[in-house]
């Protein structure tokens, strides 16, 4: 346990001392709120849950694996592999730090919404929303793990992650309403990972209630999370592809 704690402290310090990580994880979410607010300030009550989910999506698919990919490319993971540290402790410690970052990001977005745009947030709404955000984060991060596993370099991981991000952003009922999409796509989207998170977080934050289909959404996210974690674990590599 002591080893895990020391490693987690080290991982935290590394994230806090990395300018790239700091900008994309803490400055960018607030910037995102400012950009959305500049365009549609009167709809920020409605937009804020969407921004939280969009941010969690980009964080999970791309940003959360950046440092791990860097460590793999630089040979740091290989050096760690030469120690008796079990892989599960390394990944567990890394995930823990990233989950905390993901949760803090959503808090920053909410604080920015309240302070800048007087977004209406209730305690009950937050109480319901946070577990849903957490479900979403875990599923997105597991999917990000698959992307890291199949990518030879961090650049290609970012490209794959951002492509999926933009695709899901436009079709998952966050920017455009679902009924604007073609019929066949309307039938597919509810089974994609971003849509259930958007529904769960939106109804929690706007109405302080669970979405009527919350059970289905959560089961779907669990399936994505567990399935993707399993695949990501199989694809995990200590060294870059040669």
């Amino acid at each position: 346990m002591k080893r895990f704690l020391i490693l987690t402290k080290a991982m935290t310090l590394m994230h806090l001392r990395n300018g790239y990580v700091l900008f994309w994880n803490f400055a960018f979410p607030v910037l995102l709120m400012v950009i959305y607010g500049a365009i549609m300030s009167q709809f920020m009550d409605y937009m804020t849950p969407g921004v939280i989910v969009l941010n969690a999506l980009s964080f999970g698919l791309v940003s959360s694996s950046t440092m791990m990919l860097e460590m793999r490319e630089k040979g740091v993971l290989r050096r760690l592999q030469a120690t008796p540290l079990p892989a599960v402790q390394l990944i567990g410690s890394y995930l823990l730090v990233n989950i905390v970052i993901g949760v803090l990001q959503s808090a920053l977005i909410i604080v920015a919404g309240v302070l800048l745009y007087k977004v209406n947030v209730t305690a009950m709404g937050l109480l319901i929303a946070y577990p849903m955000i957490l479900f979403g984060l875990l599923a997105f991060m597991a999917l990000g793990g698959i992307i890291s596993g199949v990518s030879a370099k961090s650049g290609s991981a970012t490209a794959i992650g951002m492509t999926i991000y933009f695709l899901l952003m436009f079709i998952s009922d966050m920017i455009f309403p679902l009924d604007m999409l073609p019929n066949w796509l309307q039938n597919v989207v509810p089974y994609l990972p971003a849509y259930p998170v958007a529904q769960l977080v939106r109804s929690a934050m706007l109405e302080a209630t669970l979405d009527p289909k919350w059970m289905t959404h959560i089961l779907l996210l669990l399936a994505y999370g567990i399935g993707a974690t399993f695949i990501a674990a199989k694809l995990f590599r200590w060294e870059p592809k040669t």
């Binding site: 002591k2 080893r3 020391i6 490693l7 080290a10 310090l13 590394m14 001392r17 990395n18 460590m71 630089k74 040979g75 740091v76 290989r78 050096r79 760690l80 592999q81 030469a82 120690t83 008796p84 540290l85 079990p86 040669t242």
Partner: protein, 310 residues
């Protein structure tokens, strides 16, 4: 006194896809020795170390560390090892002191701040304890990699080209550290393609080329067993066929302006060379005598020069 085997490699064959990196390699490292793996880049030195470190799974053969099979119990063997990889890659967003603390903790060794400073003092890094690792110079990073390698107080230390890319001053500082570690009773295995490093540090050397060990002994025995000749070097212009006919000469050639003559008895050859030069109305200048070294051993055993083949 009975010697204790610390590393035992038996008939190891390793490959990367279709490329065979090691071909039936066997060797044994005894407790308390500095053992060198000498060979050009791509010879298989790093793969051999990686097999001992548990980072590369051989296709065939066995590796034991401290009597434990690496394949059967990699965690137990890793605990006995201190490792410095060829490419220094540490968690470089951490400070020097944090790094030492973390790497020791990975072995479940928990150092106090005082113990960390004491370790850093040995590597002349105390003043850098709060500096981020990525801000250190190349020599300091290499010393830090060595400090990290022994943070878990291992009995066996594996160093993969510990002085590559270092200037002569930094290289000598690393040599001193390696000698200190040896004086503490640790067993050290290091790889190098620098002949002078192997000669300066190693009690025994395995010469490795194209995935095979071509010789293994003490540096002096390697040189003596091959009955290599000394090399006379001088500035003089003489026909090579006449030089080759001088007593005790086994080979002669011109390298640039220098005449190089291999001789079993250089004092006899030098006298004859002076006489030959005098008869031709010339003089022998800039005479230098070089004893055979590991470079010559490598050339003799592989037909290639150690440096040229890098």
């Amino acid at each position: 006194m009975k010697q204790q085997s610390m590393i035992d490699v038996k008939n190891v064959t390793a490959a990367y896809g279709a490329l065979t990196a090691l071909n039936g390699v066997s060797l044994n490292v005894q407790k308390g020795e500095i053992f060198g793996l000498l060979g050009p880049n791509g010879a298989g030195k790093t793969t051999l170390l990686a097999s001992v470190e548990g980072l590369h799974k051989p296709k065939q053969g066995d590796v034991h560390v401290g009597g434990i099979s690496v394949q059967a119990d990699p965690v137990a063997t890793k605990r006995q090892l201190g490792i410095q990889l060829q490419k220094t890659a540490l968690l470089d967003d951490l400070t020097v002191a944090e790094l030492v603390e973390v790497y020791a903790a990975l072995y479940e060794v928990y150092l106090t701040s005082k113990e960390i400073d004491s370790l850093l003092a040995r590597f002349d890094l105390v003043e850098k304890r709060n500096t981020l690792a990525r801000r250190l110079s190349g020599g300091q990073q290499q010393r830090l990699a060595l400090a990290v390698a022994i943070a878990n107080d291992p009995q066996i230390v594996l160093l993969d080209e510990p002085t590559s890319a270092l200037d002569p001053h930094a290289r000598r500082a690393v040599w001193d550290i390696v000698r200190q570690l040896h004086d503490e009773g640790r067993t050290i295995v290091l790889t190098t393609h620098a002949m002078e490093e192997a000669e300066a540090l190693c009690g025994r050397i395995a010469i490795i080329d194209r995935g095979q060990i071509v010789a293994c002994d003490t540096p002096s025995a390697l040189i003596a067993n091959l009955k290599l000749n000394s090399m006379l070097k001088a500035t003089v212009e003489l026909p090579l066929d006449q030089v080759r006919a001088l007593p005790e000469v086994s080979a002669a050639r011109y390298t640039g302006q220098y005449l190089e003559v291999e001789s079993a008895r250089p004092e006899v050859t030098l006298t004859a060379l002076h006489e030959l030069a005098a008869r031709s109305g010339r003089s022998v200048r800039d005479v230098a005598l070089r004893q055979p070294n590991l470079e010559d051993v490598f050339l003799k055993l592989t037909g290639r020069a150690l440096v040229e083949s890098n």
